[in-house]
């Protein structure tokens, strides 16, 4: 205890000698990123709060993160494979192929809707305390990421059930996950910032997600898209992500259109950088308009 107090006073002295903070209009703080690092604990706490709250009110708690994707997978398999008789990819069982896509899609869809709402639902925090605002949407994405990891267990279960052994490519999965992450974050930042000023974007998000589900290869394989439409199709960045997931998980003869994939990744990078730029630009007025 005495030691703690001692170290406390050292910090105190260090803080004293620290140079003064200047607040001015339009000053882009050079220490923004340093601040972001300093507030990392708050970031953990916000994510922890959201996860805790999510599962507190529910009876079966974390099981929801399993049930939802599982049932969706069953429905998709029945509709697309048994009724529409669409082909699977390589020799993978249809459920595994569907689930390999469902995993990133649900992550994206949850992250985007949470992220775009995050500023509004934390309005009281934003108008009463200072912290780098980027923390709020980022922690919203993290929460969806936890769900993503949980529902990843279904995939393992499916693989065990079908005796499906993935190839070395599964090791590249983190890279594709990172792209999904960047995409959710990029789009999320745009929508979150726009949502503060124009509440209409509340209605835009469900629309994007509904529409996106149809134009992304979630229930079917990208191979059924004609070659000449491939590049237009790849303008949807989720195509790159999902194809990447399938390529990594299913392995074998799965093909991935690398040119399309490059377009997707480029778009994701653009979206993310633009998102950060726009967020930083509008961030200073959040407290006034929220």
């Amino acid at each position: 205890m005495a030691q703690l107090e001692k170290s406390g006073s050292i910090i105190f002295m260090l803080d004293r000698s620290q140079k003064e903070l200047v607040i001015e209009a339009g000053r882009s703080e050079s220490q923004y990123w340093k601040d972001l690092w300093r507030y990392r604990e708050l970031f953990y706490f916000l994510a922890w709060r959201d996860i805790l709250v999510r599962y507190k009110q529910t009876v079966i708690g974390i099981a929801w993160a399993l049930i939802r994707p599982f049932l969706t997978m069953v429905v998709f398999t029945v509709v697309f494979s048994l009724l529409a008789k669409l082909p699977s990819e390589g020799n993978a069982p249809y459920p595994i192929m569907v689930f390999a896509a469902l995993l990133p899609w649900q992550f994206f869809s949850n992250a985007l809707s949470e992220c775009s709402n995050s500023l509004i639902s934390n309005a009281n925090l934003i108008s009463k305390v200072y912290f780098p605002r980027l923390i709020v949407p980022a922690s919203a994405v993290i929460v969806s990421f936890v769900d993503f990891l949980v529902s990843g267990m279904i995939l393992l279960a499916l693989m065990a059930w079908y005796n499906f052994v993935p190839s070395w490519r599964i090791l590249t999965l983190p890279a594709f996950t990172l792209i999904a992450f960047a995409l959710s974050m990029g789009a999320g930042l745009w929508l979150a910032a726009l949502n503060v000023k124009y509440r209409d974007f509340r209605y835009v998000v469900p629309f994007i997600l509904q529409f996106g589900l149809y134009i992304s290869p979630v229930g079917f394989s990208s191979t059924i898209v004609p070659e000449k439409w491939r590049w237009v199709y790849s303008l949807n960045p989720m195509v790159g992500v999902i194809d990447g997931f399938r390529w990594a998980i299913i392995g074998g003869q799965t093909k991935i259109s690398w040119s399309g994939f490059t377009i997707s990744v480029g778009l994701v990078a653009l979206l993310l950088l633009g998102g950060i730029w726009y967020f930083r630009k509008t961030e200073r007025t959040f407290a006034d308009v929220i």
Partner: protein, 421 residues
């Protein structure tokens, strides 16, 4: 900026754009697009950037505010609703950006604009302590170290693992304040957070705040509670309409503020007779309080002044008045007999002054009842409910106790002696 200035504020201004039609502050996309289309083309870019929709106008919540606060100084900020106090604190705590001007701050700042920011009703007290602590800028280690102290201060140990939505509002506030009270910044910025909780707890909070203030930290404190302000601060800035109205010692600032407050409402501290009055009567009456606007600091001299118009001079005239409190209770009675000091057996105007060297009546609002009588004690005129004035105890700061209204009628001068037999 010199060495020991903790907060320097120069020409600070904050402009808000307020809409008159819509209750919400955010716009809808439709409006934004409509405005863009309307203003496209025929206007220079500069103007286009301004939000020039109908029903919107610029509003300066703060304008040209400048002051400096030395390290360890305790400063209060007072002002009416909407004066810009919270806006100032929000700028100082980096929540919002100023439109003009510059602020420089030296030291770690903790600001407390609301107790319980970020409390989540579904989470337990324990969880909320951690969450709220992190939000206020404490590290996890720090919270852990102070956890027991916080719980003890809030007196909620039994409910630590109950979701806070099951708390009574008092318990909620107690917990929230307890976390905030254990912050250890160099500069503490507090907005009106004491206006919550029951009286006991408010006192406890005030005590805690005093400890913080006395430990050499710089404190910036906003409150409508003048008692708390005078107890906690040594200097005050009065904001009015976004500008600095006064900056100086707390007792003087509070007086200035209370006087300005009274200006706008309240009955006048003088009486003027209607012009058509006949017979012996009071033409005007006035209370000379120690401060302007009928505000009187306890213990100071006070003068009651009455002008009489004697149209029927006679023997045995008597003038008297009562000071009556808000409960219609007469607190003191003063009189003057013509037989003792002649004033009524000569026609014309006469002015009577009643001087009380030390006016010891307790704080509250008071008014007068006057009696003018003639021969045979026949009352010629009686006026009631005139000359309102107010007594405050602001000049006397008691650190241990607040002044309660109606604690007594007056305070007697007394000496205490202590013996140890």
């Amino acid at each position: 900026m010199s060495e020991d200035i903790a907060i320097g504020v120069e020409n600070l201004g904050k402009k808000y754009i307020i809409g008159h039609q819509k209750p919400e502050r955010y716009t809808t996309l439709r409006d934004a697009i409509a405005n863009k289309l309307k203003s496209l083309g025929h206007q220079p870019l500069r103007q286009r950037l301004n939000n020039d929709a109908p029903g919107r106008e610029d509003f300066w919540a703060l304008k040209d505010v400048s002051f400096e606060i030395r390290q360890g100084q305790r400063v209060g900020i007072i002002g009416r609703n909407g004066a810009g106090k919270s806006t100032l604190l929000k700028i100082l705590s980096r929540i919002t950006e100023p439109t003009t001007g510059r602020v420089s701050i030296k030291g770690r700042v903790a600001s407390l604009l609301e107790v319980g920011t970020g409390f989540h009703p579904e989470l337990t007290g324990r969880e909320n302590i951690y969450l709220n602590g992190a939000i206020l800028g404490m590290s996890k280690v720090e919270i852990k170290r102070k956890f027991d102290e916080i719980v003890a201060f809030a007196e909620i140990d039994k409910f630590l693992d109950t979701p806070v939505k099951r708390y009574s509002s008092g318990m909620y506030v107690r917990l929230a304040f307890a976390v905030a009270a254990h912050l250890e910044p160099e500069i503490l910025i507090v907005d009106e957070v004491l206006a919550v909780g029951d009286y006991q707890f408010q006192k406890k909070c005030l005590g805690k705040m005093e400890d913080v203030a006395k430990s050499g930290r710089t404190v910036l404190f906003v409150s409508h509670n003048m008692q708390a302000v005078s107890q906690l601060t040594e200097r005050c800035v009065i904001l009015a309409g976004g500008r600095t109205h006064f900056d100086g010692p707390t007792d003087k600032a509070i007086m200035t503020y209370l006087v300005a407050q009274k200006e706008s409402f309240d009955q006048p501290a003088y009486y003027q007779a209607p012009p058509n009055k006949s017979g012996n009567h009071v033409t005007w009456a006035r209370v000379h309080t120690s401060e302007p606007q009928g505000l009187h600091c306890w213990g100071n001299p006070i003068i009651f002044e009455f002008a009489l118009n004697i149209t029927e001079p006679q023997e045995g005239v008597c003038f008297s008045f009562q000071v009556v409190n808000a409960h219609q209770q007469a607190v003191t009675y003063q009189w003057l007999f013509d037989s003792e000091k002649p004033f009524g057996h000569q026609a014309g105007k006469v002015i009577l002054r009643c001087i009380i060297p030390k006016f010891r009546i307790y704080m509250g609002t008071y008014k007068l009842i006057t009696w003018l009588s003639g021969r045979g004690r026949i009352i010629t005129e009686s006026l009631s409910d005139i000359c309102f004035f107010e007594v405050t105890m602001q000049s006397i700061v008691r650190n241990e106790f607040d002044w309660h209204p109606d604690a007594c009628l007056y305070i007697e001068d007394a000496n205490w002696e202590i013996y140890h037999p």
